[in-house]
């Protein structure tokens, strides 16, 4: 069971609480987490990754276990604590004006 924390606007969009849990078979990577998330909540497609390039949107960051994992490769395994469900995979909107 993978725990994912979304920024408030995306929680509103997906009509979910602070945290969602995902069951992922096979490798747990940023890509498989986001693929599974978007399958479960199709309205999130394109809001975290660009539809075409599949790159993380520039003003979003990924955190896990107190570390910025935004620049990990999409197919790298996420930390063990995230895989075990002890820690969430956190998607954060960068602090910026507006």
């Amino acid at each position: 069971m993978i725990r994912v924390v979304l920024p408030p606007h995306l929680r509103t969009l997906a009509q979910i609480g602070t945290e969602v849990t995902l069951d992922i078979e096979g490798p747990v990577t940023q890509r498989t987490i986001l693929d599974t998330l978007e399958t479960a909540f199709p309205m999130l497609s394109g809001t975290i990754r660009d539809h075409v390039t599949q790159k993380r949107r520039p003003f979003l960051r990924f955190f896990a276990c107190g570390q910025d994992r935004s620049f990990d490769l999409p197919d790298d395994p996420v930390p063990d604590m995230v895989m075990s469900g002890a820690e969430p995979f956190v998607i954060v909107g960068a602090i910026a004006g507006g």
């Binding site: 920024p7 606007h9 995306l10 969009l13 309205m43 497609s45 394109g46 809001t47 975290i48 660009d50 539809h51 075409v52 949107r57 003003f59 979003l60 909107g93 960068a94 910026a96 507006g98």
Partner: protein, 371 residues
């Protein structure tokens, strides 16, 4: 019972303002999508309960929302806008080639005949169409593929396709406008496009009468006479009597011919409204007086309409999609400002009052006349 519903897009959410046919007392609903930029909302002429909204954010990109109950509830629909084929390049501000990149939807134009068909004008400039109520979108690539595409350049607000006019007398004919490429027309349902900028003169571009490159801010027409078009260009108010094949200036006695909005009275095809703005760098009304100007003769002769509008210390702007008219017997005119006011006149501009005064900056205003 008749009434009106005013759809307001702002920098921080959408609002729905509704009233009966008297247009004196208003209900204000919203914000919907609080915190998101709502560039545009528009209802289907066929089914007024079907409303589309463009919701975007610098963080989360583009969403399209759809309501089937007149704006009470909303559901997200398709947000995948992918250019057809290899996107290619247009000109960047410095004249260098720049790849076409989707940024946001500026304008949504529902079909005149089918509530599931809707057009989207986007930045970087292109025209998309959905035939399934917004669930999926396909580009009409003939526009961007027009031979001039590589020469198009963004205006200060981005290279946006902001105006879509559907000809009610000819389903194959669509007019669009792009800042800063100019106006285009298709006569074959969007397969091929013709630049319609002859007669425009823009002193700030290398060739002032070029085929493309003009910063058109807005085009308007009256449904009963779709061959007559009115244009607010960056500078100059223009008119065409031949479906855009040629244009002539009708700025006449306006205090300044810079501005963004332009619209036509619902029942008088020769009555036109603009809001003059001081200059291209001073985006506020001349003399600090907010005035709509009305011509009852199709341009050139304009009268100021300021009754009920602030006539001192007013320094707001009225953006290109932020004016609309209703079609009640006494034509209502509405506009929103970057200061968050939405003004209404139930008598074609003779007297104005604010429906609301303290919204976030208003980006767009549309009106639905409900029978």
């Amino acid at each position: 019972m008749t009434g009106v519903r005013v759809l307001v897009g702002t920098r921080k959410g959408a609002f729905v303002l509704s009233s009966d046919g008297q247009r004196e007392r208003w209900n204000v609903d919203g914000p919907f999508f609080g915190g998101w930029e709502i560039y545009h909302l528009k209802g289907s002429p066929v089914d007024p309960n079907r409303i589309y909204a463009s919701q975007s954010s610098g963080w989360f990109g583009q969403l399209i929302q759809r309501s089937n109950d007149g704006g009470k509830t909303w559901e997200p629909v398709g947000n995948k806008f992918v250019y057809e084929g290899v996107p290619g390049t247009h000109q960047w501000y410095d004249g260098t080639p720049h790849p076409w990149e989707f940024k946001r939807v500026w304008h949504l134009e529902p079909s005149l005949t089918d509530p599931d068909i809707v057009y989207a004008g986007v930045e970087d400039a292109a025209l998309f169409r959905s035939v399934d109520g917004g669930q999926s979108w396909s580009e009409l690539p003939g526009l961007r593929g027009h031979g001039s595409g590589a020469r198009w350049q963004p205006g200060a607000g981005g290279m946006c396709l902001h105006t879509i006019l559907l000809d009610p007398s000819n389903p194959e004919r669509i007019f669009i406008a792009i800042s800063a490429a100019g106006a285009f027309r298709t006569d074959d349902g969007g397969q091929t496009w013709l630049p319609i900028n002859r007669g425009l003169r823009s002193e700030h571009i290398p060739d002032p009468t070029a085929e493309v490159g003009h910063c058109v801010h807005r085009i308007a027409m009256h449904n009963s006479r779709p061959n007559v078009l009115f244009m607010q260009k960056h500078w100059d108010v223009m008119r065409s009597d031949d479906s855009g094949d040629s244009w002539h200036e009708v700025s006449g006695n306006l205090p300044t011919d810079f501005g963004f909005v332009i619209d036509v009275h619902a029942h008088e095809p020769e009555t036109v409204f603009v809001v003059p703005i001081k200059s291209d760098s001073e985006h506020y009304p001349p003399e600090g007086k907010l005035r709509v100007y009305r011509s009852r003769v199709g341009g050139n002769e304009w009268e100021p309409l300021g009754n009920g509008l602030p006539q001192r210390d007013c320094y707001v702007n009225v953006l290109r999609d932020a004016m609309a008219v209703d079609s009640l017997d006494s034509c209502g005119v509405y506009f929103g400002t970057t200061g968050g006011q939405v003004y209404a006149s139930a008598n074609a501009g003779d007297r104005w009052s604010a429906i609301v005064r303290d919204l976030p900056p208003v980006v767009s205003v549309e009106v639905q006349t409900l029978q």
